[in-house]
């Protein structure tokens, strides 16, 4: 029975959210919806950070692109969410692929700086392209109408969010187990060895960026539904830091990691609502403690203790992106 539970934790998590949705008040339901949004974004960031080993620091921007594309398509052009959400993902993926090219030349902290700079540019663009994005005034997000039913409020939104989050998690699982996922891991562990094995390193890195950004774009679309109003403030440095913490605290290179991280980092600030000093230093302290004592996050700790099953390609030793030497450029 224990093994059965261990092997189906992802399914159990989503089943649990469905079950809990019958008991929550609107506040808890909103938080649960946010958890699921961050599961999607976390899985995407985990693909590039945990599995491909690239220090991307731009997911707040990718999320913002997805949120605005989705919100503008539905609010201004009346496009169905069934089209707007994939469009949000694709838009973010295209931008992600473009940003992926610098990743061919830099790694580690330099890549972090490049992606961070890109994040700032995107936020500046959202703030100043007022005729399209509404600038600081933001954009109102209409409740989606799907199959003749209007999904307004936290509970109806949950059914969209949970289905998409489950689909995206299963897709992440499929990617990790595919040839592409193995290529990500090979690049993470040694770019030179990966190239010697016939992996097209440059193409795989760009793909990693595009797929990861696609996740953030879809997450952004879902996020806009949970907020019903989006402003540029939503997609700043704070958001990117939050995504990073979700993966690091939850556990990089583990499918369960972003789920655990999303639960903790969405609920913790709410639990600490009345302990403001703890909130202020919470993220920093948490990151320091995890980097020192549990560098593979909670998932890694639970795997070591035998509570979670060992996942294929999970990190077996503490490893930070950018430690491997970049391979020579192709062509």
């Amino acid at each position: 029975m224990r093994t059965l539970l261990q092997n189906n934790l992802v399914w159990l998590f989503f089943a649990g959210t469905v079950a809990l949705s019958f008991t929550t008040d609107a506040y808890s339901q909103y938080l649960m919806n946010l958890v699921l949004v961050y599961v999607v974004i976390g899985q995407g960031l985990n693909l590039i950070l945990g599995f491909a080993g690239m220090f991307a620091f731009a997911h707040g921007a990718f999320m913002g692109i997805g949120a605005y594309v989705s919100a503008l398509l539905t609010a201004k052009l009346g496009v169905s969410l069934l089209v707007a959400m994939p469009a949000a993902g694709v838009a973010a993926a295209i931008v992600g692929a473009l940003i992926g090219f610098p990743a061919l030349r830099v790694s580690g902290l330099y890549l972090a700086m490049v992606t961070l700079g890109f994040s700032e540019i995107v936020q500046w663009g959202i703030k100043h392209w007022k005729s399209v994005t509404g600038g600081p005034d933001g954009v109102s997000v209409p409740a989606p109408v799907l199959f003749g039913h209007r999904f307004y409020g936290d509970y109806p939104t949950f059914y969209i969010v949970v289905v998409v989050a489950l689909a995206m998690t299963l897709l992440a699982q499929a990617i990790i187990r595919s040839k592409l996922g193995r290529a990500f891991v090979a690049i993470r562990d040694s770019e030179i060895a990966a190239q010697c094995s016939g992996i097209k390193v440059a193409r795989t890195k760009v793909l990693a960026f595009a797929i990861s950004a696609f996740y953030a774009g879809i997450g952004g679309s879902l996020f806009s539904l949970t907020q019903s109003y989006i402003t540029p403030e939503n997609f700043g440095f704070y958001q990117t830091t939050l995504h990073f913490c979700i993966v690091i605290v939850g556990g990089a290179a583990s499918l369960a990691g972003p789920i655990i991280g999303s639960i903790i980092l969405t609920w913790l600030p709410e639990v600490l609502r009345n302990a403001q000093a703890l909130q202020e230093i919470g993220y920093g302290l948490m990151l320091i403690l995890f980097v020192i004592f549990a560098p593979r996050g909670i998932a890694g700790f639970l795997i070591d203790k035998g509570i979670l099953p060992r996942e294929r390609f999970s990190l077996r030793r503490p490893s930070l992106p950018g430690r491997s030497r970049p391979a020579p450029q192709e062509g």
Partner: protein, 395 residues
């Protein structure tokens, strides 16, 4: 896979049954009212980038409720406050509003320091028909966008601020060309529209908008660029810290033209930050209070703050939320002993010419207009002292 799906379905059904049995009972129509209490949820930026406005504005409103409670409450009910942090982050503000409405079941809300984040709560507040008094957020659309049957503001909104600045400039002799210096955020954005319209209307040429960061540490480049443009005056729509940096550098580099600041800043606060009034000799600021701190008009409010919150520093931002609390108290009194949200809204819509307390404006609301404060004051520095310049400036 089949086992997984079956397992999750069984688990889901079992959990649903368990929790559904423990589900809370249906709530009453108008929550937050008991025979002895009225529960009000307050939302403020207690942490995060706008934390400087957090507790001071919250306590400036709370002291009014404390004073009412000390006198026995309203119609036998004491005001019970639940304070939540919004961190100036929209998701946190929405979470705070949902917690207060659905879990704490408050009668009404009083809050909002950051326009961008409090805007995120608007739909939730209106959908649940919860009356709300905005604390200090100035973005127009929070209150002025229709439909809005429940959200009120007793503070000068951003667009009025911009119009007052434009009207004031029109009275200044030999000022025909101005540069606007400000942030690219919702706070400044709320003022730019009416400011540029007003300048155009008065035939004043706008030479350009010079953007400054909220975390500005050096304004040399901006000041030199503005000097090259040779404006007759500069409009400053910056937050206090950034404004102080700009003014200090403008003084150092000899940018000696009149400067007009928005309500975002306060002259005394700027003098404290800069370390004197030398850099403020040519500065005018739209103010919301009846007089500077320490003046006769402000003394009772300063004493009230000291009485209820003795450890609080009396500062410019301390009383920004006070007029809102005064309006709420008046609305609760007028709604009578059989208090409901509908009666409270009706009572609020009937408030006319209520004294705004420390505010220069008197408060008037109607069903069609929930922005109750329309009057600002211009302050300037004369002989090292902050004084009121001219008459009140109305919209």
């Amino acid at each position: 896979m089949k086992t997984s799906v079956r397992l999750s379905l069984v688990a889901s059904a079992a959990l649903a049954l368990t929790f559904a049995m423990a589900a809370p009972h249906a709530r009453a129509d108008d929550p937050g009212i008991t025979p002895t209490s009225i529960k009000i949820g307050m939302i403020g930026s207690l942490t995060g980038p706008a934390a400087a406005w957090g507790w001071p504005t919250i306590n400036g409103a709370r002291m009014v409720y404390d004073a009412v409670n000390a006198q026995g409450g309203i119609n036998g009910r004491k005001i019970e406050l639940v304070v939540e942090d919004e961190q100036c982050a929209p998701p946190m503000a929405l979470a705070a509003a949902k917690k207060l409405i659905h879990r704490d079941k408050v009668f009404m809300l009083h809050g909002g320091s950051c326009s961008g984040s409090i805007l995120a709560t608007r739909d939730e507040v209106l959908a649940n028909e919860v009356p709300m008094m905005i604390l200090v957020a100035t973005m127009d659309k929070i209150v002025q966008e229709k439909p809005n049957d429940y959200i009120y503001r007793a503070f000068l909104p951003g667009s009025f601020d911009g119009k007052i600045i434009a009207d004031f400039i029109a009275t200044m002799p030999n000022v025909k060309r101005v540069v606007v210096v400000g942030h690219a955020d919702e706070h400044a954005g709320a003022r730019y529209g009416t400011l540029t319209e007003g300048l155009k209307k008065h035939g004043v040429e706008l030479l350009g908008l010079e953007t400054i960061e909220t975390e500005l540490t050096d304004a040399t480049a901006q000041v030199l660029k503005i000097k090259d443009a040779k404006p007759d005056a500069v409009v400053l729509v910056g937050r206090p810290a950034a404004s102080a940096v700009f003014l200090k550098d403008a003084h150092r580099l000899g940018l000696d033209v009149p400067m007009i600041g928005a309500t975002v800043v306060d002259l005394q606060d700027l003098a404290d930050r800069i370390g004197g009034t030398d850099a403020l000799k040519n500065m005018y600021v739209v103010a919301v209070y009846k007089g500077p701190l320490g003046s006769e008009a402000m003394t009772p409010w300063q004493e009230m703050l000291k009485k209820y919150y003795p450890s609080d520093k009396v500062q410019a931002s301390s009383f920004l939320g006070t007029s809102g609390a005064l309006a709420v108290v008046e609305g609760l009194k007028k709604a009578g002993p059989d208090l409901t949200r509908a009666k409270f809204v009706e009572a609020m819509n009937g408030i006319q010419n209520l004294d705004g307390g420390p505010m220069a404006c008197s408060l008037s609301f109607s069903a069609a207009d929930h922005d109750g404060c329309r009057t600002g004051v211009m302050w300037g520095v004369r002989d090292g002292k902050i004084v009121v310049i001219g008459d009140r400036w109305k919209n």
